[in-house]
């Protein structure tokens, strides 16, 4: 590659990177501006720094509780979807049965239905069985977002594992179930990790379900908590951005640690 080519490539990367990072940077700038004064910012460089907003969100709001709730809900959602979804993905990958293609398509289509149109029936349903305003209810709601994706992706992963391995395991004394458990599942582990991350992030980010199905602030997830900084009386942008950064931090850490798995997960899940 020529020098000019390299330069152009890096220039383009830098441009894209600016687009990707600037809003984050701006969140940081706002979060470090004294509460209420982000509008008087001048230029694009910060002039005053304060960490007050970060301490206030923990002192004045149950931020720790919210984050903990988010971790619990996202973790459970993801784990449950994995547990249930991988078996379905395996069945779709290994067993020929009528309607398999239709099921896959149906999963995709239901994903497209805006959640706003099922939220009312879901609400009524939850009210009837006492799941409203509970974390369990929120987990179940989130499973409806994550499970179809988990099924789709895990089918992709199992498709990549030669079916001879299952055959060998069954001849070696496994039932179909234990062949799945001892052979297919461990081999799909990197993919399952990727599904877990996708599911976790999806649940972590959800606002609509959190907003509609849970109303007691101590049971809120962090996404809901962050929005509450936009109060009726006052939008505390600075604290809100601080909270948003604190909220994004765990996901950033996950992405840093598991970047390889995320990309490889996408690789095995989507490529063929």
């Amino acid at each position: 590659m020529t020098a000019i080519g390299t330069f152009l490539r890096w220039a383009a990367i830098a441009l894209l990177a600016t687009f990707a990072l600037f809003p984050i940077y701006w969140m940081l700038v706002i979060a470090m501006t004294p509460t209420g004064f982000s509008r008087s910012l001048d230029g694009i460089w910060p002039t005053v720094f304060t960490t007050e907003n970060f301490t206030r969100i923990f002192a004045e709001r149950p931020m720790t509780r919210w984050i903990l709730n988010s971790v619990i809900v996202a973790g459970l959602t993801s784990a449950l979807s994995l547990l249930v979804g991988t078996s379905c993905g395996y069945a779709l990958s290994r067993i020929r049965f009528r309607g398999a293609g239709a099921l896959m398509l149906l999963l995709l289509v239901t994903q497209m239905m805006p959640a706003t149109s099922i939220i009312v029936p879901l609400y009524i349903l939850f009210a009837r069985v006492g799941l409203l305003d509970t974390m369990q209810g929120m987990v179940i709601g989130h499973v409806s977002l994550v499970l179809p994706l988990a099924i789709w992706m895990s089918k992709g992963f199992f498709d990549r594992i030669p079916s001879d391995l299952d055959g060998a395991a069954r001849i070696d004394g496994c039932t179909r179930l234990s062949a799945w458990w001892y052979v297919a599942l461990p081999l799909a582990a990197p993919g399952l990790a990727a599904i877990f991350i996708y599911g976790f992030v999806t649940s972590w980010h959800d606002f609509l379900f959190a907003h509609t199905l849970v109303h007691t602030p101590s049971r809120w997830t962090a996404a809901n908590g962050i929005v509450s900084f936009r109060g009726e009386y006052f939008t505390l942008h600075e604290m809100q951005m601080a909270a948003a950064l604190v909220f994004a931090a765990p996901v950033i850490v996950i992405f840093v640690l598991m970047q390889r798995w995320i990309v490889e997960g996408a690789l095995t899940g989507s490529v063929r």
């Binding site: 995709l108 805006p114 063929r272």
Partner: protein, 315 residues
């Protein structure tokens, strides 16, 4: 000669004949499929069925007089409802824009970074970062940036000599595009991951042989990258379509469908019909419209992809 010292066949989890029927017999598909089908049925199927049922009902909390009356009236109203079709059009536009934007940007980012060797992880992480931000927070931060009076977007345009900018979110000429930019920012990392993975899966020999055949960068892209990437690209486009069609927090928080319905997509209209107009039955009808339209779009698109794949040789 080796003989196992135990002929005791203990399959793990063997409890009894009934269990074996599930674990290793005809019941196995049931065992594997049922948990998902039950959960899916409960959390997706049931609400959808209920929504369909509601669409034939009357359930207006504001005007409860006719509640309980059933029939096709919601659908008749839908046919004549200019606002709903306007919303459908905006949804389609928003979806198309977000697919074009996020897949285009993601493809550019993936192509640019795949051969980067130094600082590869860091560069990739950079493009993943917007994914860590929930849509609702995305809306909040872009809202602050877009502010016509104090927003950094206008300030930057100003200092770049492109001022005076605009009142992005309240001007009907700019609002939709402003929302799209925020949506694309939030969604492109997912497409980026998929496309990057797809690019990495293309065997390098193909490029080597293309170079031997004197293919330039464009020809390599056109005749190696694109056909090889097609399956992944198809999935990425579908996912991006789903996200664009479903987009809610960004639109709702930033403009609430305004100004003058310039950004009132079907999702927003469904929400406001339910929670502002309190007409749950008509909201459910709009939801059914969304379901039907999305089903048509996804199947149509997948057919198209399948036909293209039949026409050419792919992998």
């Amino acid at each position: 000669m080796i003989t196992p010292r135990s002929r005791r066949w203990v399959a793990p989890g063997r409890i009894g004949r009934g269990w074996i029927w599930f674990a290793d017999g005809p019941g196995f598909p049931l065992l594997m499929l049922f948990p998902s089908l039950i959960v899916l049925g409960l959390v997706i199927g049931l609400p959808i069925l209920r929504a369909i049922e509601m669409s034939f009902d009357t359930l207006n909390l504001r005007r409860p007089a006719n509640n309980g009356e059933t029939g096709l009236h919601n659908y008749l109203r839908l046919l004549a409802d200019q606002r709903a079709w306007n919303a459908l059009g905006l949804s389609a536009l928003f979806m198309a824009g977000s697919v074009a934007g996020s897949v285009g940007l993601a493809l550019a980012a993936a192509l640019l970074t795949r051969r980067v060797t130094r600082g590869q992880a860091l560069v990739r992480l950079t493009f993943l970062i917007p994914w860590t931000v929930p849509a609702v927070v995305t809306a909040l931060v872009w809202g602050v940036m877009y502010d016509g009076n104090f927003g950094v977007v206008n300030r930057m345009l100003d200092s770049a000599g492109l001022g005076p900018g605009a009142n992005w979110l309240i001007d009907r000429r700019t609002a939709l595009w402003a929302l799209l930019a925020a949506q694309v920012w939030n969604e492109f990392p997912m497409s980026f991951v998929f496309l990057l993975a797809g690019l990495m899966a293309i065997p390098t020999e193909l490029y080597e042989s293309a170079r031997i055949d004197r293919a330039g960068p464009w020809s390599q892209f056109r005749f190696v990258t694109l056909p090889q990437l097609r399956p992944v690209l198809a999935i990425t486009v579908v996912l991006s379509m789903i996200m664009g069609f479903k987009a809610f927090p960004i639109i709702f928080v930033l403009t609430g469908g305004g100004p003058n319905r310039a950004t009132e997509t079907l999702t927003v209209l469904t929400f406001t019909t339910a929670f502002r107009d309190l007409d749950f039955a008509y909201a459910a009808t709009l939801g059914v419209l969304a379901l039907v339209v999305s089903a048509l779009m996804v199947t149509g698109y997948l057919r198209l992809v399948a036909r293209l794949d039949d026409g050419r040789e792919v992998t």
